[in-house]
Structures are given as C-alpha cells and as structure tokens.
C-alpha cells in the first residue's frame, strides 16, 4: 500500500505534492484574524514587567520593592530568591560535547547580574503599563564587578572569572582534524589567509517573545500559551523545573509571529512567568518590548575566525586550517547549549569541497553580554563566509576565475555517499549541477563585460559566489545523545471524520513557513481526498503526537514523512472497511478524490463520507470483527544519516560607492537542492526570506557593545534590519536530489538562503573593490569598514583593515 506517485510524472487527482498550493491559514492572517499570544486575554489576567540589569556584571546587594507595591494596580514583586523556592535551576551542557561547562541558571538571579538586560526582579500588575510604571520604583542596590566583554581576552590569566566554580571562562573547546595539515601547508603552491569576523546579531522577530501562563490550583494543571517553535520540549522544561508532572503541563502555540530559531530556547524570564503563574494561580502574561528583545532574545554569530587555505599548482585545495573564537555570554543557553554554533562552524567549514587535510578549532568563551544560541542557519553563514572567502582568495592567488576554481574543487556529482574531511556524511549532493544551473540563470560573461565597461566610468560593481551545504533533518545525534530532552522523531495522526473530511494533527509546528500547508498537501494526496477536505492541527501538546516542533529544517523532512505514512495508513484502513462493505478485495479498490473507486477503471463505488457514516453510526451493519480504524498515527525518525545535507550556490551582483562606502544590491540568484520539493511557492519564499536575513547580518545588523559591556542598541533606529527599498529581486532555481531515507524524499529548505548570502555579498564587495586592492572580512560590511579598507577613513578597529595574506 506504500505507493506514492512521482508528483511530476502524472497529473492524477489529489496529486498535491510538488504543487504550488496556497496556505490554508493565510486568509485569517491577511485579515488580521490570526491569534498571536498577545491577542489572548484570560479572566483575571495579570501582566509582568521586569527590572533588568543596567550593569554587565554586578553583585545584587539588595532589592527593595515596597515603593513599587504602593503603585495602584501592582499585585506582587518577585525576586530571584522568591522564585527559587518554586523552580529548580538548569545547567545547559550536552554530554557529547566533551568537556563543556556552564553554570546553574535560574529564572531570576540570586545574587549576581551577568549581562545588561538580564531580568532581575519581576513586577506583576493589572496592566503592563502599570507594571512598567512600578518597575521604575523598585530599588536594586548593585555593586559593579569587572565585566568580561572582549572575547579575545576572556581566557587571559589576568581576566576575572565570571563563575568561580567553573575555574575559568572556557565553555567548550574542540579541534576537528583529519589528514596532515602542517605537511600540506609546508609543500603548498600557494597559501592564503585572512581573519574573518561575523558581527553579533539577533533574530528581531517582529512579534516579540510572548508567553501567557495559567495555573489552576484545583486541577494542578499549568497551561502555557507560548510563542515557541517546540511546544513539547517546553512542556518538559516547565514540568521538570517547576516540579509539575509532565502530563499536567499543556503548551499551546497559536500563531507565531516569526521565530528563526529565536523562539526555540528556554528564556529565564519566560520560566519566571510560568513560576509566577504557579504561585499566584492566575494567568500571567509577558510580552517583551523591543528594547527587552534586543537585550534578552538570544544573540548569535559573534565569531572571530583566523583561517588559511593551501592550494597546489593545479589550483586544487589541499588543506584548510581554522581557529575560531566565539563569545557566548555568561551562560550557555538551555537546553540546546551555546556550544553548538561553534561546533557547527568546525563541522561545516570546507563542506562543499573535495580536499584531504583539515583542522578546525573552536574556542567558546563566557563573557558579560547577552547569551548567544542557535539562530537561523546555526553556524552555516559563518562557515560559508570563511570557506568562500578563502576560496576567492585562493582563486586570485592561482589566477583562476572564481567559478572555474569552484568547479575544480567542488565535490563532484555522482561521487556519493561520502564523508567530508570534517566528518560529515553526505548521502547525495549536487554541487556541479547547481553551479551549472546558476550559470544558466546569471549570464556571467555579460556581467563581467558590464563590470569592465562600468569600471572605466568609475562605477564599481562586483559579482560574488558562494557554494554551501546545509544541515537538515537532524537525528538524535544533534541533541538527544547529549542528554537533552529534544525530540528528533515526530509524529502525525490522521483521522477520517463522519463527513468524509480528514483531520491531521502533527507534532511539527507553524511559524509562517507553511507547515500546515505542506502537511495538508501530503495528507490529502496520501489519503486521496480533495485538499480542502483536510484540516491541520499544530502546536498543542494535548492534541498532537509528541514531536520536536519546527527547527533545523525538519518540518518537511521529518514531520512531512510522518504525515505521509499516517495518511497512507488511514487510506489502507478505509479500504479494508470498504472491501468488507463492497464484497471486494481491498487491494482492488482505491480512494480517489474522496470516493472509494475500482482501482482498475476508476468506477466510483461509494463516497468516503458514506463509509465514514456507516463506521461511526451503523457499525452494527459491518462484520463484527472487522477493524474500523479510521484514525492512524505514524512516527518518523531518520535512520542511516545523522543529518540530511542539502546544498546550493548563490550569486550576488552589487555596486559599491567608493566615495560613501554604501553598498547597493542589484540582484541575487540562488540555486538550492532541498530534495523533493513539496510546494515550490513555499520553498522559494523560504529561500528568499533566508537570503534577506543573511544580508541583514552581512550589511546592517550588529549588536554593538561598549568596552564596559553596555548594549549600545536600544531600538530599531539603532539596529538596522533589511527593509524593502534596499533589497533586490532574488531569482531562485532548484535541483532535486531526494533523500532515500524517506518515501517523501524531502530535506529542509529554510536555512539555505541565510547560509550562503553573507559569503556571496562579501565576495561581491571584494570583487568590486579589486581595482583598489581593498578587501573586507568583518561583518557587517558597513560604509565605515568599506571606506577603512579603501584607506579613506582611519582604521579604528583591526578587523576593519581587511588584511589578507598570500604566499
């Protein structure tokens, strides 16, 4: 019964997989009739505002909340000590990341604030405005302590240790090595090297972090409306740390206004909200304001990478050697940990290329800044910028066109499965086919000719390329083996209702990607009903199968396969009933367009609604022992490969104003291979949105700190994000190499754009600046940095110098 037809081979009824089907949940969103957490109001609801630390590092000497409590409408003031009686601390480490360490963290700190913006005191009031008024009346006495701000000196003997119990400020260190790196560099024809910086930035979800927790003292149940990507994980977290049985915690995520990895973490202030709800037995709402978002949403990608590449006389890469340093804030973030980004960097550098010798070290240090953790395309944009930056330097060193250099060095199609020098297992990639497809889209000779023509007129355009790989469909090798209660499997329940319509409940979640749309397509095709007959439930731990949620591009590949298998199982169950009713062998029947039909000839025998009516209301007319299981659940987990890697290549055309340092993006192209495409319309927009998010980090977004550890961005006027006027049109193409791990064959598509865009932009800028011998390697590539590289403004920070060496 496990038959599924290649959606592109024939156009039969209900062949929805592979089609651009609009999203069923879009209509309510365009009418403003979605339901985000802040749209929910419960009886006797209260609101929280937090007193947040103005110091990067300070001892809390005392907290006086009496004046705050005098404000009319203020209900309670909670300190760390108050909440610690009701909530157990957590330590965010993973056992498989050897030697990793972090300190216990609580909803509110007991005696020390460790970053600017850390929640220190919670004020509960009848309205958020009143709570905010009262925050100003809480008196916290601080004794400032030395702030560890610069990650370069975090491990120096003279630097203070943030958590004395840990002994030093080292969170994690790992060297990933294969082959003979030093030998390769010793005999290299050319060696290129540069120091790259990726600027600390953040997700800036338009809907801020949002949580509404309600505890019923009589039933003992905690219900949390949460803007999260992983409701089942959060159910477990709330249960464990608030000492409530897991079954008594229900997490509901209604519409989520953007996540991108920001909303898959455990935030102390959100746990505080749940703890306060437990204590007060009233609904408690917390919606972060924008300043709180910038200071307390996870940051990411604060890396300095010294890297070099060896090439032989034939223009072949022989070795890559990398030293990565990253500062992650004062605590590793629970439960995914903040060492994974650095770990990904050393796993992914060099990923698209065929070369023998590799060494990459990551050093993950603690510091007094906002904690960092996984954000869209975790580690990929960093690894890709380093790899592709080195590739362009190497191509220049051996006097090869960057495209030709890539063609010589990329892993060749048809040579899979294989393992990369970094130890990543690739089932099947398509670098060469993707490059060929990209070159068919961009008119490369034309762009080069135009570049030459315009240079003569003082207009400086650049073309940049970036090949990339992307890690999707993670197995328990990502988190589960390290001890984290993060599900790599996912499930789907499919039920036929009495009217013949179909209900699908899935453990993967929707934050705008179109999860509900693809589950609906898959289930409609698998069962054999018109797509408008399928409804989808996501984001409720009480009503959906246990699953991991949506992150690391697992929704389509993992959740989609579970949906396919459960849909096929329901179809099989329905045909079994139909066979009994129609006196036919079930395998001579089919379910098409909501009708039971003869498989041969297609003659209609009975509407599915009629079958369902009899099963549910006149079961007495069926053979007594006949199974009538019109609801089936299937789960899926990957088996052979720890991850399903995807690949692709991007190209960027831009213009640099060498007088102002401003970059004007002209066009971006991307070819990506996410395996089986379930919905081209959704995949293309994942790629485009991802690219623009990558551009944000490359050109604009930066969480800037003063030397004292003050966060220097306070609003969206300080923290620039890509807006419509600066963004280019983006052309997307595809190659499809389905994974054989599943019947569906889908891999992830949500992070490819972000993975490649910063590298493509960087290489295009450096291509534009070639006549000046100037280069930039420190993101974001601001006008100041470009002008510094051009020698037009002073170099105020070494990273701005943009030095690269070649020998």
């Amino acid at each position: 019964m496990n038959e599924i037809i290649d959606p592109r081979s024939v156009d039969r009824p209900n062949s929805y997989i592979g089609k651009s089907v609009p999203r069923p949940n879009a209509k309510k969103l365009v009418e403003g009739r979605g339901q985000f957490v802040d749209d929910i109001a419960l009886p006797r609801m209260t609101h929280v505002a937090f007193v947040r630390s103005p110091h990067a590092h300070a001892r809390i000497l005392g907290i006086e909340g009496a004046e705050a409590l005098k404000v009319p409408g203020v209900l309670r003031v909670f300190t760390g000590a108050d909440l610690s009686q009701h909530c157990d601390p957590w330590v965010a480490v993973l056992a498989h990341l050897k030697g990793m360490k972090s300190a216990p963290q609580r909803p509110l700190p007991l005696d020390r604030a460790t970053w600017v913006g850390e929640a220190v005191v919670a004020v509960v009031a009848e309205t958020r405005a009143i709570a905010e008024d009262a925050v100003g009346k809480v008196d916290v006495a601080y004794e400032p302590l030395p702030a560890i701000v610069d990650m370069e000196t975090a491990l120096a003997p003279s630097t203070a240790v943030i958590h004395s119990d840990l002994g030093d400020n080292l969170c994690f260190q790992r060297v990933n090595e294969s082959g003979k790196v030093e030998d390769a560099f010793a005999v290299a024809h050319k060696v290129v090297e540069a120091t790259f910086h990726t600027g600390r930035h953040t997700g800036a979800t338009l809907e801020p972090r949002s949580v509404l927790a309600d505890y019923n003292r009589a039933s003992g149940k905690l219900t949390v409306y949460h803007s999260t990507q992983a409701p089942h994980m959060m159910q477990g977290v709330f249960a464990k740390h608030l000492r409530i049985p897991e079954g008594d915690v229900r997490v509901i995520c209604t519409d989520v206004g953007g996540s991108y990895g920001i909303k898959v973490h455990v935030y102390p202030d959100e746990v505080a909200v749940a703890a306060i709800a437990r204590i007060m037995a009233r609904p408690v709402k917390f919606i972060a304001d924008r300043l709180e978002s910038f200071a307390s949403d996870i940051h990411a990608r604060d890396h300095r990478i010294k890297a070099r590449m060896a090439v032989d006389a034939a223009g072949r890469i022989t070795a890559i050697d990398v030293d990565d340093l990253t500062g992650i804030g004062p605590y590793s973030v629970y439960p995914r940990t903040s060492a994974v980004e650095g770990n990904q960097v050393v796993n992914l550098i060099g990923g698209p290329y065929d070369f023998p010798n590799y060494r990459a070290k990551t050093t993950v240090v603690l510091q007094n800044k906002t904690p960092t953790c996984q954000y869209r395309a975790v580690g990929h944009p960093i690894a890709t910028a380093v790899t592709e930056g080195l590739v362009d330097l190497a191509a220049e060193a051996v006097d090869l066109d960057p495209v030709e250099f890539r063609r010589r060095n990329l892993m060749q199609d048809g040579t899979y499965p294989r393992t990369s020098p970094a130890g990543m297992k690739f089932e099947g990639l398509s670098h060469i086919a993707s490059l060929d497809k990209l070159l068919g889209m961009i008119d490369y000779p034309g762009l080069r000719a135009e570049q030459d023509r315009l240079r003569a007129r003082g207009i400086h355009r650049g073309i940049g390329f970036a090949s990339f790989i992307e890690l999707t469909n993670p197995s328990p090798f990502m988190y589960g083996i390290g001890g984290a209660r993060i599900s790599a499997q996912d499930g789907c329940t499919v039920r036929i209702d009495p009217d013949g319509s179909v209900l699908a409940a899935t453990g993967v979640t929707e934050q705008g990607q179109g999860t509900e749309a693809i589950i609906r397509q898959i289930v409609a095709e698998a069962v054999g009903v018109p797509i408008d007959q399928v409804r989808v439930i996501t984001g409720d731990t009480l009503t959906t199968p246990y699953g991991g949620g949506t992150w690391a591009c697992r929704g389509a590949g993992i959740g989609g396969e579970a949906a396919l298998q459960s849909g096929l199982a329901v179809k099989e169950a329905a045909l079994k009933v139909a066979g009994a009713m129609l006196q036919a062998q079930p395998d001579t029947l089919d379910l098409v367009n909501g009708e039971i039909v003869e498989k041969r000839g297609g003659q209609s025998r009975m509407p599915l609604a009629e079958l369902a009516r009899i099963v549910y209301f006149r079961g007495d007319t069926l053979p007594p022992d006949l199974p009538r299981e019109l609801m089936q659940t299937r789960h899926f987990i990957t088996k052979e490969y720890p991850f399903a890697f995807t690949n692709g290549v991007q190209a960027c055309s831009l213009e640099v104003d060498v007088d102002t340092g401003l970059v004007k993006l002209l066009k971006i192209w991307c070819v990506e291979d996410c395996g089986r495409i379930i919905n081209p319309l959704l995949v293309d927009e994942q790629v485009r949105g991802g690219i623009v998010q990558g551009i944000g980090g490359a050109l604009y977004e930066h969480c800037i700190y003063s030397p004292e550890g003050q966060l220097m961005i306070g609003s969206m006027a300080d923290y620039l994000v890509p807006m419509a006027a600066e963004m280019p049109d983006i052309e997307v193409g595809h190659v499809e190499t389905p994974t054989k791990e599943s019947l569906l064959g889908a891999k992830g598509a949500g992070e490819a754009g972000t993975a490649g865009a910063p590298a493509a932009v960087m290489n295009a800028i450096n291509d534009a600046l070639k006549p000046f011998g100037a280069k930039v390697f420190a993101q974001p590539f601001t006008p100041e940095r470009i002008l510094a590289a051009l020698g037009k403004v002073p170099v105020t920070w070494p990273g701005n110098a943009g030095t690269a060496a070649s020998r």
Binding site: P22, R23, K28, G32, A129, G203, E207, A724
Partner: protein
Amino acid sequence: MSTDVNVTLTVNGERVSRRVEARCHLIDFLRLDLGLMGSHTGCEHGICGACTVRVDGAIVRGCLVLAASLDGAQVETIEGVSDSGEIRDLQDAFIARNACQCGYCTPGMLLTAADLLKSNPRPTREQIREHLAGNYCRCTGYHAIVDAVETVAVRRNGKAAP
C-alpha cells in the same frame, strides 16, 4: 500620572466613546480597549510599521498617535477594510503569491500597499519598494510582497482601462 480624556470617534464605521488615559497610544486603544487585535505592536518607536492603521484616510503609526487626540476622527483598521472588501484583491494576491508568512507584519503591509495604489495606481517595482520601506517583514525578503502589489496594480489598471 496621566489625566484621563473622553473621546468619541468612529472606528471601522462604528461610533465608540471611551475614557482613555492621556498617554494611551492608538495601537493600545484599538487592541486593549476595543479588542481589535488585527493591528500589531512591533517596535513601539514608529519604525517597523506593524501597527499601521488609517486615520481620516491617511496611514499612521498606531504607536505614535495618542488616542486622546482622536476625538471626532475616522479610524480604519485591517478588520474594517477586510469586512468592507476594499482590499480583497490585495489580500487575495498576498495569499496567492505567498507574500504573507508569519502574518505579523501583514495587516500593516496591506494598508501601506493600499495607500500606495490609491496615490500611484501604476507604481514601478522601485516605487513599491520605496513606499513599503517603512514596514518591516522578517519572513519574506519582500520580493513576494512587491510581486503581489505589482500584480494588483496591473489588474486594477486592466479593469480601469477603457
């Protein structure tokens, strides 16, 4: 502390009278006092455009306008223009083109797009991007939104053509 102010205004064609705090912003008035949850709070600094609504026919930032200043005003929100059908073609185009992902920016984006097409029925892609440049969308990268607005402009012109 704030002083309360009495206001009577028209919201989506219905007259409402409320006593509001002088410091209450229009977006909070709409969401908290009237329960109109379609307009969203994004940045509270007038930058992101998620709270865009219409006051007396012009789009404004709900987070920069005080409710107390709106006595006698005509306010329209995404709920109102959805019910009237005024921007149905834009909404349909956003759905068809997948120009709305998480949906948080979408109501503000739609009202801004409608505002553009009212003043400039035949905008270029650059003009569309320029007009929407005050509305932050983190999901789409804007390309699909520009496509959707362009499609509606072409269709409206097609219908209007003699």
